[in-house]
């Protein structure tokens, strides 16, 4: 997967490049809008991450010209300005997502993965397996080591989310938004409680443990052998 990061602030740019590279992406980094446009038009990227405020061309100009050139690559905007007009403008121009600074890197990574997945049609699998855990998405049933596990509706949704995005660290805000439709930062530890309860049902009596905590960042479902 090849990404282009256009960010004029050197520190953020460097860390974005490092983080995304370490997450397994092939990352090119440019500092100006002009360079970004040139790269975007001459090479095939899977995703463009554009800062809105850049010297030369700004992010919107780059997006407009990329779209005018007939490129349909997904675009994620980074901006320090959080105005509704800005958001609307970006989305009207054809941006796919929008992230306001300061953001958590885990949040960015989750969004990048969502955007990249959007291209490939999402899995139509109805039965998902990880280690000895088997989840039937249609019948809403989970079985581990042959033992049926009773889950509440929300616990099942949470497990489904973790499964669909296995191997990814999911920030708490993303979990709250996807499972409970809580689209704002809440200062409570509901997600910790939810994860603890899910763990009690699917992990406590079994080995290996599947749900992992990425401290300060979020949670991840993964089996040991795939690490």
């Amino acid at each position: 997967m090849k990404l282009l990061v256009a960010e004029d602030e050197p520190k953020i740019g460097t860390y974005l490049q490092q983080g995304l590279t370490e997450a397994g992406f092939n990352v090119d980094r440019v500092m100006t809008g002009t360079d970004a446009l040139q790269h975007a038009l001459s090479e095939a990227y899977d995703l463009l991450i554009l800062d809105v405020m850049m010297p030369g061309l700004d992010g919107w100009d780059v997006l407009r010209m990329v779209r005018a050139a007939g490129k349909d690559v997904p675009v994620l905007f980074l901006t320090a300005r959080d105005g509704v007009e800005d958001r609307v403008k970006g989305l009207e121009l054809g941006a796919d997502d929008y992230l306001v600074k300061p953001f958590a890197f885990s949040e960015l990574l989750a969004r990048v993965r969502t955007l990249l997945r959007r291209g490939n049609s999402s899995t139509t699998q109805t039965i998902m397996k990880i280690a000895d855990l088997e989840v039937d998405l249609l019948k809403r049933r989970a079985v581990r080591s042959g033992k049926r596990i009773d889950l509440t509706a929300k616990e099942f949704s949470l497990l489904e989310l973790l499964l669909r995005r296995r191997g990814e660290v999911l920030p708490k805000s993303l979990i709250a938004s996807q499972v409970w439709d809580m689209n704002f930062d809440s200062d409570t530890n509901v997600i910790e409680v939810a994860i603890r309860r899910l763990r009690a049902k699917i992990d406590d009596d079994f080995e290996p443990k599947l749900i992992h905590t990425a401290r300060g960042m979020g949670y991840m479902l993964d089996a040991p052998e795939s690490e």
């Binding site: 709250a176 439709d181 809580m182 689209n183 704002f184 809440s186 200062d187 409570t188 300060g216």
Partner: protein, 457 residues
């Protein structure tokens, strides 16, 4: 008139008033005097005419006039401005003393008792004409009496001239007096202005004293003082706000610095660095959240929070939030109940956030095993959502300030919960206000309730 000073305005008006009064008085006096003189003249003429008629009535024809001439002269002699002419019916002048007059025809030949006047050669005359018909008179004779009133006219001209001069002088004097009066009358205003000029952000605590201020200005001063009080309140809140931001951000920043510096003082194993970075991450997240919330509040202060209005059923919002919070409530053995329903026009995300803040706030202060109840009431033109929880009551003096930024009723709790910066209720209030709603808190007898009111659909 618009740009004149109050003093100039008042002196000018004072002057105009004096001119108007003097003019009316002067003209009335003038008219009255003229009338009085006219009456005197008429009386003189009537008396003399009657005497003349009496004298004449003793004569027999025009030849006899000579006989009564001394009598007539005596009559005229008593009055130097008076002249008499006696005419025969054919116009012959039988008597004209002290000199003949060229009396206009119409007065001469119209003998009635009306008084007439005419001007000739810079003189003004008044006269009266009468016919003398005695029992012994062979033909009617006409007597004309003429009074020279030129002196009266001169008197009136002089009077008028002096009147105008007097008027101008009085106008000037009254303008000057008006200026003095207005200036001294406005002195309290200048004093108030002086005090107001000296006010600055530092002296918002000062008030303009009410005692020396006249009644008319007291209302102004009271309003001004009330404005100062509001400004002072807002200013204090603002200063506290800045101080609080500094404080809230200083704590995590100093944690970050100290911790990082300590870790860097010597070589450590990788776990120690990792631990440091995790701890830093927590502090940074906390700061990031504070910044986000501050940004939201700043935008709300500037009217930039514009709700995307849709029809929202509050009981559904509460049900959804309960689904989220019941996990936490279960942990603490707290029960959640909801009753009632109500529709409002609102921004889904913002209402979620506002009610969520109230719920998480209630969860924080409810003792184990108790119940948090949410009640939705639709009354007339408002929908009220009440989140009520048992727990230590909030002191009345704190109730009004609960919605201030960073305000915590119990300062000791400040450091207690690092994830709660004390902006939640302020944000809830901003959201309520952006929806033309309001929020207030009641607390007594171990129960605390937050009421969120929105206009009904």
């Amino acid at each position: 008139m618009k740009h004149l000073s109050l003093t100039a305005r008042m002196s000018l008006m004072f002057m105009l008033a004096v001119i108007a009064v003097l003019t009316v008085a002067g003209l009335s006096f003038n008219e009255l005097s003229r009338h009085h003189f006219r009456m005197l003249d008429r009386q003189t003429l009537v008396e003399k005419l009657e005497s003349t008629q009496k004298i004449m009535s003793g004569t027999r024809g025009r030849a006899d006039i000579i006989k009564v001439q001394p009598q007539l002269n005596a009559l005229l002699g008593a009055h130097e401005d008076l002249a008499a002419i006696i005419l025969a019916n054919d116009g012959t002048v039988l008597f004209a003393e002290p000199r003949p007059f060229n009396v206009p025809e119409k007065y001469r030949l119209n003998p009635d008792h009306g008084m007439w006047e005419w001007q000739e050669g810079g003189h003004m005359y008044r006269g009266m004409t009468a016919q003398v018909i005695g029992p012994d008179q062979p033909e009617p004779l006409t007597a004309v009496l003429i009074l020279d009133v030129t002196n009266h006219m001169h008197f009136f001209e002089t009077l008028l001239r002096w009147f105008w001069i007097g008027l101008i002088i009085s106008a000037l004097i009254s303008a000057a007096l008006g200026w003095i009066v207005a200036r001294s009358g406005l002195r309290p205003l200048r004093q108030v202005t002086q005090v107001a000029t000296l006010m600055s952000a530092r002296s918002l605590k000062e008030r303009i004293p009410l005692e020396p201020v006249p009644l008319e200005l007291q209302q102004l001063v009271t309003s001004f003082n009330a404005m100062l009080a509001r400004l002072d309140d807002a200013f204090v809140r603002l200063s506290n706000f800045s101080a609080d931001i500094a404080h809230e951000l200083r704590t995590p920043v100093s944690n970050l610095m100290t911790h990082t510096e300590v870790v860097l003082t010597k070589k450590r194993n990788i776990e120690a660095y990792e631990e440091n970075l995790y701890s830093n991450l927590e502090d940074l997240k906390r700061m990031s959240r504070i910044i986000d919330e501050m940004l939201f509040l700043a935008k709300s202060d500037n009217g930039l929070i514009i709700p995307e209005l849709t029809r929202i059923e509050l009981s559904e919002v509460v049900a959804k939030l309960f689904e989220y919070y019941h996990l936490l409530a279960d942990e603490c053995g707290i029960h959640l109940t909801v009753s009632g329903s109500g529709n409002v026009l609102g921004d889904k995300l913002m209402l979620d956030r506002a009610i969520s803040n109230l719920l998480s706030n209630a969860l924080r202060y409810t003792p184990e095993g108790k119940t948090i109840s949410v009640t939705i009431r639709q009354t007339g033109n408002a929908v009220t959502l009440t989140v009520e929880n048992p727990g230590e009551a909030i002191k009345p003096e704190h109730l009004g300030k609960l919605f201030d930024r960073f305000y915590r009723a119990d300062p000791a709790r400040r450091e207690g919960n690092p994830s709660n910066a004390g902006l939640g209720l302020a944000i809830t209030r901003s959201i309520a206000e952006a929806h033309q709603g309001k929020i207030w808190c009641t607390s007594a007898n171990g129960w605390t309730a937050f009421h969120l009111e929105f206009p009904a659909l």
